[in-house]
């Protein structure tokens, strides 16, 4: 489903201060797989997931999605891919502070022309699924870290994506919430979602199909 070929990303390209975030990454991820990229900070996990998730472009190399090379896609096509196929969960949640939980979750649906009622109903469904049915009208600052991350997961799921990309989804939350998220990821896997997780902890490894260990921008 997802394949990379000699993927490289460097910052400060062609300058004396060039930093190679990842180099020569070749991965092959089958559909409905749970893949974990594990490594210490600065090992290139986030950069790799950002490129696979079309949030960033590689300096060299290619990414294939369903055998279609997507690296050369336009920004518009990238946005369409993110809208239709990919859901993101970020380490620091990236919720919009002035919006309530349900508004944050429903935010991706606004440009799709979906009515307010339907947006609310869909957001409510996913928030209830995440155990936040009583927190619909709370703003992020009124929620704990774990609750915010669950809101972020609900937002990632709102478009029913085929791929979930989670960058350190449990790094800022307590163990109980981590376990809850783990359980939810298992459910997603059963439903056929392909999940890519970047983490430096081992908790996801027990349900992972593949674990890539990363160090210094390379897969070991």
């Amino acid at each position: 489903m997802i394949r990379t070929e000699n993927l490289c990303k460097s910052y400060g390209h062609h300058s004396q201060y060039e930093v190679r975030a990842i180099h020569d990454i070749n991965v092959n991820i089958a559909k409905n797989c749970f893949v974990v990229f594990r490594g210490p900070s600065g090992s290139g996990k986030t950069t790799l997931l950002n490129i696979i998730g079309t949030l960033d472009r590689p300096t060299a190399g290619k990414v294939f999605l369903y055998d279609k090379e997507i690296t050369s896609f336009s920004d518009i096509a990238f946005a369409r891919l993110r809208r239709e196929k990919i859901g993101f969960i970020f380490q620091n949640f990236h919720l919009i502070p002035r919006l309530t939980s349900w508004e944050n979750v429903a935010y991706p649906l606004i440009p799709l022309g979906i009515s307010l009622k339907e947006r609310f109903e869909r957001a409510q469904f996913f928030l209830e699924k995440m155990g936040l049915g009583d927190r619909l009208s709370h703003t992020p600052e009124e929620l704990s870290g774990g609750q915010q991350q669950r809101v972020a997961i609900a937002r990632a799921m709102i478009n029913d994506p085929e791929i979930i990309i989670a960058d350190e989804p449990t790094s800022n939350i307590d163990e109980e919430t981590s376990a809850h998220i783990l359980q939810y990821f298992e459910e997603l896997k059963i439903r056929g979602v392909t999940i890519l997780v970047a983490t430096h902890s081992a908790i996801f490894e027990k349900i992972a199909d593949t674990v890539y260990k990363m160090k210094n921008g390379r897969i070991e």
């Binding site: 950002n50 949030l55 960033d56 472009r57 920004d75 518009i76 946005a79 369409r80 993110r82 809208r83 239709e84 993101f88 970020f90 990236h94 919720l95 919009i96 502070p97 002035r98 935010y107 991706p108 606004i110 440009p111 799709l112 022309g113 979906i114 009515s115 307010l116 937002r155 478009n159």
Partner: protein, 383 residues
Amino acid sequence: MHKHLNLLFLATENLLRHRTKTVVVCLCIIAILTPFITAIAISEGIRSQSLNSVNAGADLYLTSDEFGRNAAISLKYLDEIKKIFGVTKIVPRIVGRGFLQNKLTVIVGIHKEDIPEPVTCISGRVFENTNEVIVGHELAKYFHLNIGDQFSMRCQQRKVFTVVGIFSADSGIWGASMIFMPFNDAGDLFGKENVATDIQIYSLPGHNSEIATDLYDIFQNEAYRLQDKQMIELYVKKGFMLKEGVFSALYIVAIALGVPAILVTSGFGLSERKKEVGIMKATGWQTLEVLELISFEQLLISLLGATIAIVLAILWVRGFRGAFIAQFFIAEITMLPNFALPARFLPLPCFISFFFAFLLTMVGSIYSSWRASTVSPVVSLQS
């Protein structure tokens, strides 16, 4: 369509959520636009009233010419002018200025039967005897003049007049400080005999050139000036363009101070906005959708600011009689005029004001938003 409506509603919500920013930007827009709209409305009102007066006036205006300027004209040719073919009526007038106590007034000396139609007495009657006058209602109000009151004026001669009527004229600004008196009394007051400041000539349509030729024969070696309606209209228009120009020049200075304020306030919360754009892009929003949302926000805030500015301009004109601004357009009035200003709020200046506000707010926000939405979402999210 639903998508655009969603974006419009979201833009409205965003403005309500960022109340402080919305209020500050609105205040900046109002501060810039209100004086501008007020000035344009006053200018348009006076221009329209002046042109109406010109249109309702005589077809030709005859004066002497001294040093290339209008000068008093002798009445000795009055009978000859009357006889010119095509002339239907001639009205000799004395139009001058004099102080009534500390207030400069316009004195019009005219024969009773020649008083213009728009000048109608709202109380009393038109003068019939010597030393009787009718005064504009604003002037009467200012000096608490009633029918039967007497006052004295001094120009070249001192004279005592009796108020026999108070008039209201369509042309508020002209009628406001005007005194009509018999032609001969005005002559006495200014110490001039057998002259008029001008002779108004009413003619049959299409006869102006023939009348001009005949006048040339009558005056022969005497310097005179003959101006028709179109020329007067042109002077009026040119005069207002000049006044608007002076106002605009002063106003540009004010705008130069106000624009940076709008640009700064429009850019308030830029880093928060940048991050928000990053989140939008990461969750599948297209660049155009982000820009559409921001454009809607600026459109709404401009509409709100411009609408309030128009309402305040109307209040400024109606409630405060265009205080501070009216004096740019009407000579020798106080900061707070004591008569109702003629003002016209035309759609075009209002639309231009709205467009200007939109342009300003867009300049303040669109570039940064466009930058945020065209760079990779990762960069925007790091803000």
